[in-house]
């Protein structure tokens, strides 16, 4: 009796192993070389996914993989030479440039779209129609922690109620950009706010609390207009609400930012990578709009394409944040220098 039992087990394992071997033998062997490996920002992911999908439709043999490690996580892999392209929602930082240099990874930086950061409150909030950058700074800077806890501490006349704050994860490029633009130093922020990597959690949080305030990518506000109210930002010269138009024409400052892909220069030598990047530059703007971002104006796109074709390496920001800098003039300079 026991023998039959053991035989049954042996049979089962033999069959499983056999099936497994068969499954793998059936496929052709994969060479890492023909895969276009992309990783990085979750903000840029939808654009890259769309481009990869379309590229796959016209180019059936293309094998593209896209990961979501965040801008920082993406650069870590990119600068070790593990990926061909890195998605980023902020420019590459100084220490990441150094890492790339150490590993002899040369890169071409390509802006591919704009994104706005929306500051949002609950629809029942009737007082905060607009906020100045200075007020946002008072609210978010590190020394506000535990001290600035009520709305009337931000602007007198606002309710004497506890303010509840929501923000994206501290590893995200979005958080980096917001702190840079508002507080003046990336990562400088109070720590006592509800943070989530999943922006929909922030949407729900702000939608559920009359006295809440949060910030995240414009696309999340546009998909949830009925649950949220957007705050106009007064940057000293004008008060502007975020919209595709105000982000594109540059009037929504300082909370508009460019999104990037970084292409490894050595990878461009591979025809499939080159084709993919060319395709990205051509179809990217339309696809970016489709998935909820703001495309770069065509004159900027043509400079970006020139930059790519000339193979202009390094970052136009040289390790500094992109806040308050004109993308167009920086791009023009870098292409002209070559």
């Amino acid at each position: 009796m026991n023998k039959r039992k053991s035989m049954f087990l042996v049979k089962i394992s033999i069959i499983t192993t056999f099936v497994l071997l068969l499954l793998f033998a059936a496929g052709r062997p994969v060479h890492a070389a023909d895969i276009i490996a992309i990783d990085g920002s979750s903000t840029v992911y939808p654009i890259t996914e769309a481009v990869a999908e379309e590229f796959g439709a016209v180019n059936r043999s293309a094998r593209i993989t896209v990961g979501v490690s965040g801008s920082g996580g993406g650069f870590k892999k990119f600068c070790r030479g593990e990926t061909d392209i890195s998605d980023a929602s902020r420019p590459i930082k100084k220490k990441e440039i150094d890492l790339c240099k150490k590993n002899k990874v040369e890169f071409i930086e390509l802006p591919i779209a704009y994104d706005g950061l929306a500051v949002v409150v609950n629809p029942a909030n009737k007082w905060a129609e607009t906020m100045t950058v200075a007020e946002l700074k008072v609210l978010w800077e590190p020394k506000a922690q535990g001290k600035i806890t009520k709305w009337n501490q931000v602007r007198s006349g606002w309710p004497n109620k506890k303010i509840k704050l929501f923000g994206p994860g501290v590893d995200s490029g979005t958080f980096d950009y917001f702190t840079e633009a508002i507080v003046g130093k990336a990562q400088a922020s109070r720590g006592d706010f509800t943070s989530s990597e999943d922006d929909n959690v922030l949407v729900l949080g702000v939608a559920a609390d009359k006295y809440a305030l949060g910030f995240f990518g414009l696309a999340y506000y546009q998909e949830n207009r009925d649950k949220l109210k957007v705050v106009g930002i007064n940057n000293g010269s004008a008060t502007v609400k975020p919209s595709p138009k105000t982000v594109e024409n540059g009037s929504y400052t300082p909370l508009s930012r460019p999104l990037f892909i970084y292409v490894r220069k050595d990878s461009v030598k591979r025809p499939e990578v080159n084709e993919f990047v060319e395709f990205y530059l051509k179809e990217g703007p339309a696809l970016a709009r489709e998935v909820g971002y703001i495309s770069l104006p065509s004159d900027i796109m043509s400079v970006v394409t020139q930059k790519y074709r000339k193979g202009v390496t390094n970052s136009i920001y040289s390790g500094n944040p992109s806040v308050g800098k004109s993308l167009k003039s920086l791009l023009n300079n870098s292409v002209a220098l070559k």
Binding site: M1, N2, K3, R4, K5, S6, F8, L9, I12, S13, T16, T17, L20, L23, F24, A26, G27, R28, P29, V30, A32, I35, A37, D39, S42, Y45, P46, T48, E49, A50, A52, E53, G56, R63, I64, T65, V66, G67, V68, S69, G73, K77, E82, E197, D198, D199, N200, G217, A219, Y220, Q222, E223, N224, L287, E290, V291, G292
Partner: protein, 291 residues
């Protein structure tokens, strides 16, 4: 006097029993209702999205055209590979510790460590695998690296469960076998293992069910999100259902949340069929036990 105390004690005991029963029912109800609410919510959101196309389409930017083909196949491959590697190693380790190992300082050190490892957060295994498999052994972000990560994650559980199952085999069975002249190996292979097999299998399947829902360690080793081709080798890149679900849940468009719900139903289906397979296997093996 004695009678009076006895009476009081009886009343107290009856009262205690009832309270305990109510508390137990309450605990059961809380967990069942929570589960029911979650499943109903998922079914109501995702059921309409479920179709053959959803199963056989690759991910897409258009929520209505996106599917779970590559993550589903990736999950399947990863689980089969994980099972094939972890089962022999785990059961082998359990047999050694339970049947062969001498009780000394060294084995108790191993035992303590295995028990501790079973409680280590999964992300730690991800960190370990990133260095060990992905970078040091240069396996890359491949199917085999992902499976080995999962093997590490569930190996302590399999070893613990298998040891418990081996412990349930009565001493008398072993002694009878030895008395009839069987060697230790014959005793284990023909007596101990068949009796404890149902328990071992149940534990293994439960451990695999845990692995199937894990995301953190796979994200840590850099498993991917968008793949429009199927894994076709051990070194092929891959993605799994939980990662796809996580990605869809965090997208701004509501249609992706519906996709995520549908993908959760698929994942639940995979889990249930795995558990059903385990029950079938156990029943089949149990019927034959007679000694």
């Amino acid at each position: 006097m004695n009678n009076l105390f006895g009476h009081r004690r009886r009343i107290y005991q009856r009262w205690a029993e009832r309270t305990f029963l109510v508390a137990a029912y309450f605990a059961l109800a809380v967990s069942l209702v929570t589960l029911a609410v979650l499943i109903t919510d998922i079914l109501m959101t995702g059921a309409s999205r479920l179709s053959w196309d959803f199963i056989t389409s690759f991910p897409s930017r258009r929520a209505g055209r996106a599917g779970v083909y590559s993550p589903l196949v990736g999950t399947f491959y990863m689980i089969v590979l994980t099972a094939v590697i972890s089962f022999p190693v785990g059961v082998g380790a359990a047999i050694y510790l339970e049947e062969y190992a001498k009780k000394n300082f060294f084995t108790s050190l191993i035992e303590i460590n295995i028990a501790n490892l079973a409680g280590v957060p999964s992300i730690i295994y991800g960190l370990l695998s990133l260095e060990l498999f992905v970078r040091l052994l240069n396996l890359g972000r491949s199917l085999i690296a992902g499976s080995l990560t999962m093997v590490l994650l569930i190996l302590p559980i399999i070893i613990l469960v298998s040891r418990e199952a081996l412990k349930t085999v009565p001493r008398s069975v072993r002694e009878a076998s030895f008395a009839l002249g069987a060697s230790r190996w014959q005793t284990i292979w023909h007596q101990v293992l068949p009796i404890s097999l149902p328990g071992i299998l149940t534990g293994t399947i439960l451990a695999l069910s845990r692995a199937i829902g894990e995301t953190a360690p796979l994200i840590m080793i850099g498993a991917l999100t968008y793949i429009a081709f199927l894994p076709d080798g051990l070194s092929s890149p891959f993605t799994v259902l939980p990662i796809q679900i996580f990605n869809w849940v965090s997208r701004p468009q509501h249609a992706f949340a519906v996709n995520a719900a549908a993908a959760i139903i698929v994942l639940l289906g995979v889990l249930l069929s795995m558990n059903a397979f385990a029950v079938w296997l156990r029943n089949r093996l149990q019927k034959r036990v007679s000694w």
